[in-house]
């Protein structure tokens, strides 16, 4: 492993070098182009940009859900290019949590079960502790009264908070959120945003959140602005 060039962050949690994703087609579509980022632990980063600028595409690449056509993604000092799909899945399971714009919960399982599923798959905690941990996460997001409700019995904001709790289940180093408040009203938005902020403050977790909401983006400590799949600016605020 070559040492990264001198940069403000010593041991980045996440680093990309000239990350590029081109969709092969008759007329190839460039989703992300030459994105180089270094993101450390406990950062709260906003990704902004006009619609169609490649924010979601970048997030999928950072979360190892999608594979780049050029450039590299490093996670905790590991280059991910040569990893098998099983190894990538394991990194996602252990180190990365996703929150999407619309809730992505398993409809047949209760809120508690949804939060427990990643823990059960990882199998690090004994099942009693999994249960307690999941309860604690949901309670921390104000959902202690909704543990045994299925997604269809919850409001949009509640579901989104369940999704946040699930993303936190295996105490990941990184949470990737794609417009987590995009489908919520201002009250619910505030609740979800505050819970995210609390996570960054209390746990050693980095959150990268795509948002259209300039107000929220301004409240985050760092902002990466994309235009046409390229970084327009990347600044601390």
């Amino acid at each position: 492993m070559t040492a990264p060039a001198a940069a403000p962050i010593e041991h980045p949690l996440l680093e990309t070098r000239d990350l590029t994703r081109i969709l092969p087609a008759v007329v190839p579509v460039t989703l992300v182009k030459d994105v180089s980022l270094r993101i450390g632990h406990s950062e709260f980063v906003a990704i902004t940009g006009p619609s169609g600028s490649g924010k979601s595409s970048l997030l999928y690449l950072l979360g190892l859900l999608d594979r780049p056509t050029g450039g590299e993604v490093w996670i905790s000092g590991t280059e991910t290019d040569r990893l098998s799909s099983g190894e990538l899945a394991h990194i996602r399971l252990e180190k990365i949590g996703f929150v999407f714009q619309f809730h992505f919960l398993l409809p047949e399982f209760t809120a508690l079960e949804n939060v427990m599923i990643p823990m059960q798959r990882l199998g690090k905690l004994p099942s009693r502790e999994q249960h307690e941990h999941a309860e604690g996460l949901l309670a921390g997001l104000g959902l202690e009264d909704f543990l045994n409700r299925r997604p269809e019995q919850l409001s949009g904001g509640q579901r989104q908070r369940v999704a946040v709790a699930r993303a936190l289940a295996n105490s990941p180093d990184l949470i990737l959120a794609d417009e987590p408040t995009g489908s919520l009203d201002s009250v619910a938005t505030e609740q979800v945003f505050e819970s995210l902020q609390k996570i960054v403050e209390t746990q050693q977790t980095t959150i990268i959140a795509v948002t259209h909401d300039m107000d929220l983006a301004n409240r985050m400590e760092r902002r990466v602005h994309l235009v046409d799949g390229q970084i327009d600016y990347d600044r601390k605020q």
């Binding site: 899945a89 996602r92 399971l93 047949e108 399982f109 798959r121």
Partner: protein, 412 residues
């Protein structure tokens, strides 16, 4: 694994009606195959035991498998004969007493000697051709079942009446003869001898009821002018499994062709084999159809649950997990179907075993012979599980390869 099974179970539960239908498909396949296998094997065993009762386990015949070697060829390899016409010879096994004694030394079972030949029976101006078999009644009773078919008199009566004759009842009816009547038998060489009817048999097989007769061996040897010659030895073994070994040893020892019941009924064995192949082909076809049902339902679930697959993948479930979930769904249906099918098959066989047929030709009541064997259930269930696993695997592989990004993009 438990987690994957729980996820699979929720998917299957969501499509209850389709699951029930697919399960029924598998159950029918398993049930019918079990019942059919029971019936097939039952009838085969029934037939075989009747056959083994009826025929000798080993029969030594008065012929050789290869033409007799000339003494010169036996001694010198280079000697060969062509176009040789061997000396006319009386056909038959000579010195039967000696041959039987040497066999009795080591064969575990009973045996009887026979001399058969053609003769014409004349009574009250009518002639019929017969196959006349000379027997030693006491030995014959140990080996053949002819005594069971006696309608009048007994084979034992041949012991006390040196010119006694046991005749098929149909032949006797045709001639108008009855027990106690005296008839004349004439051999092909023109020798005539008077016999007294002491018994009548009825086997149900027309050819033997009309064309067979038994007489004491000595009397037949005189009639056919073959003193101290027989043309077959029939052996009934205590253990029929030894038949092939006994036959080949007897053949080596005596130099005459010895045929085991298995060799004699080779064609039949092949027919049974072919029948089993056909049966399992049909069973296989039923299970393939059931497999299509499973394929259909699992494919539907994969399609319906694309979003859940994307969720699981984004959570960090590897492709192998996704594949397992859907293979499990196929297997769940397969296992349920196999259990239901085994119950169905058992019920069906049990019912068939109680069905009675009244055959017009006979007073006896016949039942369908059903053979119950764990093996039938095991084979049918394994086939069902195998086909359901394959049927689940095809859509499962597709599910595992689904690209989560496409699905997430499509859903948001």
């Amino acid at each position: 694994m438990i987690l994957l099974f729980r996820i699979a179970a929720t998917h299957v539960r969501n499509r209850m009606r389709q699951t029930v239908v697919s399960t029924l498909g598998v159950a029918l396949g398993v049930g019918f195959s079990v019942a059919m296998a029971g019936l097939m094997e039952g009838s085969q065993r029934d037939f075989m035991s009747t056959l083994i009762e009826a025929i000798p386990h080993v029969e030594i015949q008065d012929e050789q498998r290869a033409p007799a070697l000339q003494p010169a060829s036996e001694r010198f390899d280079a000697v060969a004969f062509h176009g040789l016409r061997p000396k006319e010879d009386l056909r038959g096994i000579r010195n039967p007493t000696e041959a039987l004694a040497s066999l009795r030394d080591w064969v575990n079972g009973s045996m009887t000697q026979r001399l058969s030949g053609q003769a014409v029976l004349r009574y009250s101006g009518q002639d019929i051709g017969l196959t006349l078999t000379g027997v030693v009644p006491r030995d014959e009773l140990d080996v053949s079942k002819i005594e069971d078919d006696m309608r009048q008199g007994s084979l034992k009566d041949l012991e006390v009446t040196s010119n006694g004759l046991v005749l098929g009842r149909k032949a006797a009816q045709r001639l108008g003869a009855d027990v106690g009547d005296t008839v004349t038998l004439t051999s092909a060489n023109g020798v005539a001898k008077r016999f007294k009817i002491v018994g009548l048999f009825h086997t149900g097989i027309t050819a033997s009821d009309e064309g067979f007769a038994y007489a004491p061996l000595k009397a037949v040897q005189i009639l056919l002018e073959k003193p101290d010659i027989i043309n077959s030895i029939s052996i009934r073994l205590s253990d029929i499994g030894e038949a092939n070994d006994v036959a080949s040893r007897a053949e080596r020892q005596l130099g005459y062709k010895a045929v085991s019941w298995e060799e004699a009924n080779e064609g039949l064995m092949e027919a049974f084999f072919v029948r089993n192949v056909i049966m399992y082909t049909v069973v296989g076809a039923i299970l393939v159809v059931a497999g299509f049902g499973i394929f259909n339902i699992v494919s539907t679930i994969v399609h319906e649950k694309a979003k859940d697959i994307a969720i699981l993948k984004s959570l960090g479930f590897p492709e192998t997990d996704i594949q397992q979930i859907f293979v499990l769904e196929g297997l769940v249906i397969g296992v349920l179907g196999a259990i239901a099918g085994s119950v169905l098959g058992f019920g069906l066989s049990s019912y068939l075993a109680t069905v009675k047929f009244e055959l017009t030709t006979d007073v006896e009541v016949t039942r369908l012979p059903i053979y119950f064997s764990v093996l039938h259930y095991a084979i049918a269930c394994l086939l069902a599980l195998f086909s359901s696993a394959i049927a689940g695997l095809i859509p499962a592989r597709k599910a595992a390869r689904l690209n989560p990004v496409d699905i997430i993009r499509g859903a948001t």
